[in-house]
Each structure stands twice: as structure tokens, then as C-alpha cells.
């Protein structure tokens, strides 16, 4: 007979421990009230849900969205992007000028500025920062591309900065580079490895106060910020791995702001108490990239693209066969703006106007005519053929992206209508990226976020920027190459007269549209929500209908004000109820565990 006392004793101990734990759990109900008063002090802490990666808070090396967004708040740039329309506005510099060629840029600095540690901020700090990036490889990792055209940077006096470029450029070179304090950074041994994740010294509206990996990032307001100290004390990013949990968190009042919602999530939250929503016109485009014959910068072709797509008429036929308005309505539930080319309409000045003669709409007859002209004749099954070859195209999508899957569903029958057999190839995002690098596709769903100056995005549509099949050599939006486009790119790159430059940019975009290297579908809205019972005064960019998070600037949160205290109270009452769950769980365990323990005692007298 086997009675294993040891085993049972151990189980008993486990149960006793559990019972104790559950008891502590049930006590959760009691101090919940105390916490509510603590929460009231948080009325000036703006809590934002995030799932962003953080590698470090080193502005020289960090790539990821959350840290780079934080840098916009932590470090003022020489030239900022305005809230109104994201065009250049004063930052550390109040005014700037360039020589007739666009090679020497001179900046006048704002007088009497201070870093957050009260040390003076001068043009010497700017020169030091830029020079570090130019001289040290390990400090050029994140933003090296922005100083590549810099020949030298000098600070002849405390209030003047002179940037001399290697080649002329019309795009203001003082944008987008976080300026750090020389007196802090020059003392760091290995600045490339410096994490900068404890109290930071900067010049922006908020400074890093603390960072707990995967838990929170806390920024504190900077009293020395030249536009004046923000009205909230702190911004606190809180980590939520999944976006549905973020939606629940704003409903329950655990966070004050969320962004990046799907249309379904957005609709679900629209009626929620004390939650206000924002449909922000975003700075992103989404579209269909077409393999018009990928090749590297030396024109060595690679990849498996369908020969048919080398014909401009076939590509144009595909565009004419897509009912983009219906697609936007059905797939995006209308949370997106109509698009022309790859510069979003929030950059009103640069975007290709909708009334440009190249812009065309949905037209099945035109699509069929174009395919006829290209020599593709309808076969017995309705699919077009040429030289015995059927017109079959592969459409590569990310299987996890609802937008892409839904788009593919609409596209398949539409393409069939004009005589193209479309094969949807849904895959994971890594496979999609690998296949597109190798040119192993006919069409794929693509998208980019665009910065206020169009130069970079135009640049990656030039022949020289095409990478090879390993992805080396450059970055290309669609593998596009056109001598005419390149010429327009070069012209706008050095054109200092803004009016003329705008015209050149429009011409380049029209050329790209006409060549149909890709079909821009829409500029998706950025869907956001905030707690209207706690905060007010979020500044959008552009101010008229723009976005709050992920701006190119620090406007979104620096203007925020807490709603008066009595309005803010009243939440947190539910927290006490959390204890009830604890009590219920405790009860189950205590009853169960207790029963086991009692039975143990009872049996001790009838042991053999």
C-alpha cells in the first residue's frame, strides 16, 4: 500500500501558500480608494498608449518610431516644421538665408536660449552636433543621410551658424536633425553606445525623466523651452502590446490618448463616454507598386516580373480598371483621402493637384482599349492573350493586413472584367519584403510615410537610387527609372525659387503618374482618440484636419491642458471593484485549498 506523505505534505504547503496569496489578493479591495487620490495628482500627466520599440534614447543612433517621436519633443531642431502646414518655421534659428547658388546656408539663432539644465544654448552646440555626425561613423547611424551633402559647418559667433554644402540644394538643410548640448555629450566616452535613457538635457518642450523597458517612458516638461513651459507636467507612454487592449484602456480611463486605430476599433469607440475622436489627415500614402521591370542602378535586370508590365499601356489599363472610390469606401470605410501621386495632400503645396490633366479615373472601357492597343486580345475564357501567353499577374499582400486582403478581394474580379487574371499571393510581411527586394513579384501593396519636403521621396524614384537584388546600393520606392523624371528631380533639387520648384515637383509627379510605376490608392487617415474629461487643446498638424501623434514637430502634446480638477475626478471608482474579483478568486482557492487541508488532518488518525 502506498501512502505518499511527502507528496501530500508538499501539495498541502502549495495550497497553504496559494490560500495566503489569495487572501492578499482579496485585500486589493481596501487600498483602492487610497489610490484614487493618488490618481487625482496625475491630472497633469498625459498618459499615451504605445507599443513602440525603444533601442535607446540616443538621437544619433536610434531608428524606431517611439524614440524618434520623443526626440521631436526632447530636442529642438535648427528649423522646425509648422503646425499649420508642416512647412519650415523657426526653431533654434529665427531666420535663414542662402547664397544665390543654394550652397552656403546662414542661420541667425534666437538669443538667450537655455538648455533644460540652465546652461546657455548657442550656435556652437549646433555646429558641434552636426560635425559629430559628419566625422564619426557610429554617430551617423540614424541621421547620417541628412548630413551627407554637408561640406563643413561653422559657428563664427554664438548666434550665427553657417552650413556649406558639397552640392547646392533647395531643401533647407537645418531640418530634422536633433541638436544636443555639447557640454553634456562631449564628456561621454563612447557616444555611439550611450543610451541616454536617464534624465536627459535638451531644448524641446519635454525632457526624458525615466524609462522602464516595456513598462513606461516618462517625459517631464522643460521650464526653459523657448516657446514657454507646457501646461501638462508630464507625458507618460504606457506599453500595450496589442491594439485592442489599448482601446479598452482608453475606455476604462487608464490612458488618455491612443492612435493608429483600425476603422473597426475607431467605430467601436466613437460612442464611448468621455472619449473624443480625431480623424487625422495623415502624411502617408498607400498604393499598388507595379513591377515595370526592376533593375539595379547599372540597368542589370533581375527578378521575375511579368514582361507584360514593361508596357506602360498595360500598367495604365490596370489603374483604369480599379474603382478606387468604391475601394476607399468599402475597404477603408472612407477613412482616407482621395489620392493623386505619392506626395499626400496634407502637403498641399507639393501634392499633385487633382485637376492635373494626367489624373484619370475609373474607366473599364478605357482599360480594355489600352489592353487592345498593347496587343492583348481577349481569349475564349475572357482572359487576354498575346503570343499564346495568358495575361496572369501575381498580387503580393501581407496576410495579416486587413486593408490589403480586402483590397485584393475587390481587385480580383475587377481585373477579370478587363481580361487580367489576378492571383492573390498573401504572405507574411517578411516574405513580402524579401520577395520585393528580389523583384519576385508583379504587383504588391505598398505604402510610405512622407516628410514635409518632397526631395527625399522624389530622390528614391530616380534611376541612381535603385538597389540590386540583395537590396544594396540604395532605396527605391517602386524600382522606377525615367530619364525625364531624373531631370526634373535634379532641377527641383537646386531650384531656390519656391514657386518654380513647386512647379517642377508637380511636373515630376505627373511624369511618375503617367508612367504608372505605381498606383496611389489613398492617403489613409490616422485614427486617434483622447479622454475629453481629462485633457483638451491638442494641436493638429496640419491644424486643419491633421494628426496629433507622429507629427513632424512637437505641436501635438505641447499645447495640451488638463481639464479642470472637478471634471477630472470621478473615475477610479471602478478600481475598488477589482477587489471583488480578487475575493472571488480567493474564495475559490480558499474553499478548495481549505477543504484539502481539512481532509488531510482528518485522515491522520486512520493511517495504517
Amino acid at each position: 500500500m502506498l501512502t505518499n506523505h511527502k507528496l501530500r505534505r508538499r501539495l498541502g504547503t502549495c495550497l497553504a501558500g496559494l490560500a495566503a496569496m489569495a487572501l492578499v489578493g482579496s485585500m486589493a479591495a481596501a487600498p483602492a480608494q487610497a489610490e484614487t487620490t493618488e490618481a487625482a495628482e496625475d491630472s497633469k500627466v498625459l498618459r499615451i498608449a504605445t507599443d513602440g520599440f525603444i533601442d535607446s534614447f540616443n538621437p544619433f543612433t536610434s531608428f524606431y518610431l517611439l524614440p524618434t517621436n520623443s526626440f521631436r519633443y526632447m530636442y529642438e531642431n535648427l528649423v522646425n516644421n509648422s503646425a499649420e502646414d508642416a512647412q519650415p518655421t523657426e526653431g533654434l534659428a529665427t531666420e535663414w538665408d542662402t547664397d544665390s547658388e543654394g550652397k552656403v546656408w546662414t542661420y541667425k539663432m534666437r538669443p538667450d536660449m537655455k538648455w533644460s539644465d540652465d546652461e546657455p544654448l548657442t550656435s556652437k552646440d549646433v555646429a558641434w552636433t552636426y560635425n559629430q555626425m559628419m566625422e564619426k561613423d557610429e554617430l551617423s547611424v540614424a541621421n547620417g543621410g541628412l548630413v551627407e551633402n554637408f561640406d563643413k559647418v561653422e559657428a563664427p559667433d554664438d548666434s550665427t551658424l553657417v552650413i556649406t554644402l558639397k552640392n547646392p540644394q533647395s531643401n533647407n538643410p537645418g531640418q530634422e536633425i536633433p541638436v544636443v548640448p555639447e557640454h553634456v555629450w562631449s564628456k561621454i566616452d563612447k557616444p555611439g553606445e550611450f543610451k541616454n535613457d536617464e534624465k536627459s538635457v535638451g531644448s524641446g518642450p519635454f525632457q526624458l525623466e525615466s524609462y522602464e523597458a516595456n513598462k513606461s517612458v516618462t517625459l517631464k516638461s522643460n521650464p526653459n523651452f523657448w516657446r514657454g513651459e507646457p501646461k501638462v507636467d508630464k507625458i507618460q507612454y504606457r506599453y500595450y502590446t496589442n491594439s485592442d487592449a489599448q482601446v479598452q484602456a482608453i475606455r476604462s480611463g487608464e490612458v488618455d490618448f491612443i492612435t493608429g486605430l483600425s476603422p473597426e476599433q475607431f467605430k467601436a469607440i466613437e460612442g464611448a463616454d468621455n472619449v473624443e475622436t480625431n480623424v487625422g489627415n495623415g502624411r502617408r500614402f498607400q498604393g499598388i507598386s507595379i513591377n515595370s521591370g526592376v533593375a539595379d542602378a547599372k540597368n542589370n535586370e533581375f527578378g521575375t516580373g511579368n514582361e507584360a508590365l514593361k508596357d506602360k499601356k498595360v500598367r495604365q489599363a490596370i489603374r483604369a480598371g480599379i474603382d478606387i472610390d468604391t475601394l476607399r469606401d468599402q475597404v477603408l470605410q472612407d477613412y482616407g483621402q482621395p489620392a493623386t501621386s505619392f506626395i499626400p495632400s496634407v502637403y498641399e503645396k507639393w501634392a499633385l493637384p487633382a485637376d492635373n490633366p494626367v489624373v484619370s479615373g475609373f474607366d473599364v472601357e478605357k482599360a480594355k482599349k489600352l489592353l487592345d492597343e498593347a496587343g492583348w486580345k481577349e481569349g475564349s475564357d475572357g482572359i487576354r492573350e498575346k503570343d499564346g501567353e495568358k495575361l496572369e499577374l501575381r498580387f503580393l499582400t501581407d496576410a495579416d493586413a486587413t486593408t490589403e486582403q480586402n483590397t485584393a478581394k475587390f481587385l480580383k474580379p475587377w481585373m477579370k472584367d478587363i481580361g487580367i487574371m489576378l492571383k492573390n499571393e498573401a504572405s507574411d510581411v517578411d516574405t513580402v519584403s524579401e520577395r520585393t527586394t528580389k523583384g519576385d513579384y508583379d504587383m504588391y501593396f505598398s505604402g510610405w510615410s512622407i516628410n514635409p519636403d518632397p526631395d527625399y521621396q522624389l530622390g528614391i524614384n530616380t534611376c541612381d537610387s535603385r538597389p540590386d537584388a540583395d537590396g544594396n546600393g540604395g532605396t527605391s520606392q517602386d524600382g522606377y527609372c525615367s530619364k525625364d523624371f531624373d531631370k526634373l528631380y535634379e532641377q527641383q533639387h537646386v531650384e531656390l525659387d519656391e514657386k518654380k520648384r513647386v512647379d517642377l515637383v508637380h511636373q515630376a509627379l505627373a511624369q511618375h503618374y503617367e508612367d504608372t510605376a505605381s498606383i496611389t490608392l489613398w492617403y489613409p487617415s490616422q485614427l486617434e482618440a483622447f479622454r475629453s474629461d481629462r485633457f483638451t487643446g491638442f494641436t493638429k498638424q496640419p491644424t486643419d484636419g491633421g494628426i496629433i501623434a507622429n507629427q513632424v514637430g512637437y505641436w501635438g502634446y505641447s499645447s495640451v491642458e488638463p481639464v479642470s480638477a472637478e471634471d477630472a475626478s470621478g473615475d477610479g471608482g471602478g478600481l475598488g471593484a477589482g477587489g471583488w474579483i480578487g475575493i472571488a478568486a480567493a474564495a475559490i482557492v480558499v474553499i478548495g485549498g481549505g477543504g484539502f487541508l481539512i481532509s488531510r488532518r482528518k485522515k491522520s488518525d486512520d493511517r495504517e
Binding site: L2, F53, F63, S216, D244, E254, D430, T437, G473, A577
Partner: protein, 357 residues
């Protein structure tokens, strides 16, 4: 995401879900034949070591077969020059030949160095140590509750086989067991987090609270409740089923008739005679599944933003952060292998019928 915890074990032996050594026969009627305990131990140790070697090799090559170039992925949509990309490649050691990378990895592992994470720019071993604590807290709490609940309900179910209680207890547990963890977690999150607002919707502690203060501990417990309930609901069925099956098997044994003949009550027979014996195969299964539970934390941690190893792995996959993936893969596998080994040893200790053979 697949959770190994979903391999419902065949009661009283059956295929070893962890699959540490391919030795599957643990049937009560057929104890392993012959051999001293030392021989048995060496055999098991050998199996575990082989598995570990395979895991280490696989840990390197499997993730390198993943599509996508980590550097290009980071460079995507950023104004990066070819020189910058090359610099990143060399920082990550990706410019070296694969065989050299493999050698560095092997040498590293044997000195406890899993390399440096691409994303966090920190030693992987330090990251794993940092994130292990929350995972252990979550899985240990869930394991203790699931095991207790499963065993307790399991023995009651078996004793009242085919009663209404048995039917309800067994079928409820199976329903939870077949529900996707992610879905169940989200439903609980919506009801208790969003709608009722009783419990926090994510994380381990409210930022700013000291975890070692009284308020901090209470706060952590509140954050624990939903993820623990999710994990328990999904896994307790396997303990219930094993306990039930093995007790049912015991119930046909002659010694119970003897015990009854001595005039013991049914309750006494159950608690003093049948249950202790039925616990033996169950304990083995419990051990085997502790490893699986830790791996299963990946899903729960992702739903509830629990800052543990599972979430770390989840993020490493999206990178892809190769050194971090390798590190977490090796650690997860090692835990499962060690737990299986422990199960084998414990089993041998506990069951005299195996020892006697």
C-alpha cells in the same frame, strides 16, 4: 502563435508532448525493463543533452532561414545611405561568413553569452534575466492554481464518474481548453477591463509605483488576475483529465476492495488509498507541462502586455532580432528539456513499480 500547452497528454503515459528523448512508453502496466537507477539516469541525461545540442544548432540556423533581412527592415522608409547600411551590418556582425557567425554563437553560448540584441543593444543574457522574473511570477501563479484546480476537480470527477458533476466539470474544462488563448484573453480584457473597469487592461504595475511597497504589491496582484485566469482556464483541463483517468484506473484495483472490506468510508477510501496512487502518473504530467506553460506565456503576455520573456520573444520575432530570438529559443527549450528530465527522474522516484523493475 502556437502554445505547446495545447498538447493534451494521453493519461497515464502516452506520447511525451515535450518530446525530449523520444522515449514514450510510460504505461503503468509496462514499466521500463531492467537497468540500475544510474543507467536509467544516464540514458535520460544523454537524451536531454542530445536534445539540447539539437536546440542550439537549430536555434542558429532556423532563424537565419526566416525571410527578411533585419538590416534592410530597419532601413526601410528611412533616408539611409549604402554606407550606413554597411555600417549597421558590420555592427550586427552580419557581414561575416555564416560559418564564422555560427562559431561565434557556439563559443558565446558555452560562455553564457548569447550576443547582443539588435534592437535593445544590450546583451541578450541580461535581457533574458531581466524579463524572466515577470514570466515566472505569471506562470508559477497560473501553474499552482491550474494544477490545484485540475487535480481537485479531476479526482472528484473520477470518483463520481458519469454523474452530473463529472459531466459538467469535464466538459467545462474541455470547452476552455479548446478556446483560443488569445480570444479568451481579449474577451476577459473587454469585459473586466474595458466595460466593467474592474481590472487593469495591461502591464504588470502602474508606472511610478514602487513594486515593493504595499500599494505596489496590491497593484501587481490586480494586474495578475486577468492573465492568470486566462492561463488557468486554458490549461487546467489537462490536469483534470489526467487525474480523472488515472484515478478511474485505480478504482478498479483490488486493494480498494480490501480497504472497503476493512470498513472504511467511501471518502476515506478515495482520499487515503486511491488518490495518492493516482497522483503518481499525474505528477509526471504536471512536470512535463510546467515547461509548456512557460512557453504558453507568449500568447498571454502578448494579450495583456505582460513585460515578460514571452513578450520579449514576440517583439524579437517582429524585428527580426536574431540574437534575441536565438537566446529566448534556447532558454525556452532548455526549460522544457529540463522539466521533462525532471519528470522522468521524479517518476522513477515516486513509483516503486518502476523502481522494482
Amino acid at each position: 502563435m502556437t502554445t505547446p500547452t495545447h498538447d493534451l497528454p494521453t493519461p497515464a503515459g502516452g506520447p511525451d508532448p515535450g518530446g525530449s528523448d523520444g522515449q514514450t512508453g510510460r504505461d503503468m502496466d509496462e514499466p521500463p525493463k531492467g537497468g540500475s537507477f544510474l543507467g536509467y539516469l544516464l540514458r535520460k541525461l544523454g537524451g536531454a543533452l542530445t536534445s539540447m545540442v539539437l536546440v542550439i544548432v537549430l536555434g542558429f540556423f532556423a532563424f537565419r532561414m526566416l525571410p527578411g533581412d533585419p538590416v534592410l527592415k530597419i532601413a526601410k522608409e528611412r533616408p539611409m545611405s549604402p554606407a550606413q547600411i554597411a555600417e549597421l551590418r558590420s555592427q550586427y556582425g552580419l557581414d561575416k561568413p555564416v560559418i564564422v557567425q555560427f562559431w561565434d554563437y557556439l563559443v558565446g553560448i558555452f560562455s553564457g553569452d548569447f550576443g547582443e540584441s539588435y534592437v535593445y543593444r544590450k546583451p541578450v543574457s541580461a535581457l533574458i534575466v531581466e524579463y524572466l522574473g515577470p514570466t515566472l511570477l505569471l506562470t508559477a501563479t497560473a501553474a499552482v492554481i491550474a494544477i490545484t484546480l485540475g487535480l481537485w476537480l479531476g479526482q472528484l470527477s473520477a470518483w463520481r464518474r458519469n454523474s452530473l458533476f463529472d459531466k459538467i466539470a469535464s466538459s467545462t474544462s474541455l470547452v476552455f481548453w479548446s478556446v483560443p488563448t488569445f480570444w479568451l484573453g481579449l474577451i476577459l480584457l473587454m469585459i473586466f477591463g474595458g466595460t466593467l473597469q474592474w481590472l487593469p487592461t495591461g502591464g504588470m504595475i502602474t508606472p511610478g509605483l514602487n513594486p515593493w511597497s504595499f500599494a505596489g504589491i496590491i497593484d501587481v496582484i490586480k494586474h495578475l488576475i486577468l492573465p492568470v485566469i486566462t492561463m488557468v482556464a486554458v490549461v487546467y483541463a489537462q490536469f483534470l483529465m489526467v487525474m480523472r483517468a488515472s484515478l478511474i484506473e485505480e478504482m478498479s484495483e483490488d486493494y480498494l476492495t480490501t480497504a472497503r472490506a476493512k470498513g472504511l468510508t467511501e471518502d476515506e477510501v478515495r482520499k487515503n488509498h486511491a488518490v495518492p496512487n493516482a497522483l503518481l502518473p499525474t505528477v509526471t504530467v504536471v512536470f512535463m507541462h510546467i515547461g509548456g506553460l512557460i512557453a504558453g506565456a507568449v500568447t498571454v503576455e502578448a494579450v495583456f502586455s505582460w513585460p515578460g520573456l514571452g513578450k520579449l520573444t514576440f517583439e524579437a520575432i517582429s524585428g527580426p532580432d536574431l540574437p534575441l530570438l536565438q537566446g529566448t529559443f534556447v532558454v525556452f527549450s532548455a526549460i522544457i528539456i529540463v522539466m521533462n528530465l525532471a519528470a522522468d527522474i521524479v517518476y522513477r522516484f515516486l513509483d516503486p513499480r518502476v523502481r522494482r523493475a
